[in-house]
Symmetry: C2
Subunit: 237 residues, 2 copies
DNA sequence: CTGTCTATTTATAAGGT
DNA sequence: TACCTTATAAATAGACA
């Protein structure tokens, strides 16, 4: 875990493999020892390696034999049990990594569109050069979100002093308040990216995609909005 | 291992203990899986906890039973063997920690004396207030070392350009060179701390203490010195 | 090989939701 | 209960002695 990320495959170089084995055996031994001490459980491990004729055993041969004997006498127990088996472990890791990946992709997308927006603002790129409808849609959603933050900030600055949160007195989550606003705001509108993800997601696992609270930049009179998505973070933070 | 350092004793709070058990079981499982994959060894673990009627087993019950059976048929093997037992593991940790402690104590002492020296240099403390003979001795040793670094630096700056290390051409370790010097230097003289440590160390484990290369601040003509302790670091680095 | 060092990756204790 | 998050402690790959 240093200098380079470990690949999950047999280490090719036999010398490196041996060194790694020794290091990791030490680490494993400590982990077992900690688990046993901290949680007061009986544990043992048996490792057959090409480096020792006899297996490496923890915590000691007699104790491991005792545990192994106790365990040998178990009934075969149903296969579907939630025992810690390799397949279950791997499935668990896979789904965890898939979730991580999704989160990362979402974050990447946000960063990408944010970057696009700043390019447009700085003039290093013209909006006319952005021909990708997905990018435009997400950019619109992003700008809508920023506008909302600005509106909220304005509302906050204009509030009467004593009650700290005037606009929020109707409730925590679903407070809908009439906002005099020069820019009309629609209800949440899924971006293209989000819709695509929803359409392709077979697991039914809700993925909100990027900018689930996207808003149209059209003008309207007054409208209602939910403050559910505003958590105090301000544009730039 | 976050937020707080783990104590090596049974976790008192049963709820925390259970959570820790589950987290660490997951970690242990991953470690076993990694070891098995990376090094191509057969491993299994059996953990009896109060949280499951059946033991937690890795990688799977049949595989563990197989390994356990193989291992059950082993002869009792001599007790003195270098097998990974709890006692050996603990002894190993203890000596490792003792070494760490010694290193830290040495470093602390160095820092302390360094601080004392800077106080004297800055005038916030007078040398006359330092009545502790041990401190004085170590301070002397420290100053001697600094002087050597200065001398070495001077020698380096005065060297003819082409050969990079003129003063070192006699050899790597034991080069003894006549140095014209306004401050005489004696051969390495153990500090009080070092002598104390040597006297009290029952293991015969060589502990060099602080400033093993300490020098007297007496004046002499020319003298010899070993450059063994100079590794290129300059005072202030 | 056996150990040391250091930059990084992992594991995880507390504290929230 | 069972997750998630975050700051920190630990483990460790690669390089070197």
């Amino acid at each position: 875990m240093p200098r380079a990320k470990t690949q999950h495959m047999l280490i090719a170089d036999p010398r490196v493999r041996k060194v790694t084995f020794e290091k990791r055996m030490k680490g494993l031994t400590k982990k077992l020892s900690d688990l046993s001490t901290l949680c007061g459980v009986d544990a043992c491990a048996i490792i057959y390696s090409p480096y020792n004729k006899q297996p490496d055993v923890w915590p000691s041969l007699p104790e491991a034999q005792l545990l192994a004997a106790r365990f040998q006498s178990l009934p075969e127990m149903e296969k579907g049990k939630k025992m810690t088996n390799q397949e279950g472990f791997l499935r668990q890791r896979i789904s965890k990594l898939q979730e991580q990946l999704k989160r990362q992709e979402k974050e990447n997308r946000e960063t990408e569109i944010n970057h696009l927006m700043y390019q447009c603002l700085a003039g290093s790129r013209s909006l006319g050069d952005v021909n990708n409808i997905v990018d435009l849609k997400d950019l619109e959603a992003l700008i809508g979100e920023k506008m909302n933050l600005i509106e909220e900030r304005i509302g906050y600055l204009r509030r009467p002093s004593p009650p700290l949160m005037v606009i929020d007195e109707g409730g925590d989550d679903q407070a809908e308040i009439a906002v005099p606003c020069s820019l009309g705001m629609s209800m949440p509108q899924p971006s293209f990216m989000e819709m695509e993800v929803i359409n392709n997601n077979p697991s039914g696992n809700q993925f909100t995609g990027f900018c689930g609270n996207g808003m149209m930049l059209t003008c309207g009179e007054t409208t209602t909005w939910s403050n559910h998505h505003f958590d105090g973070a301000f544009w730039g933070n």
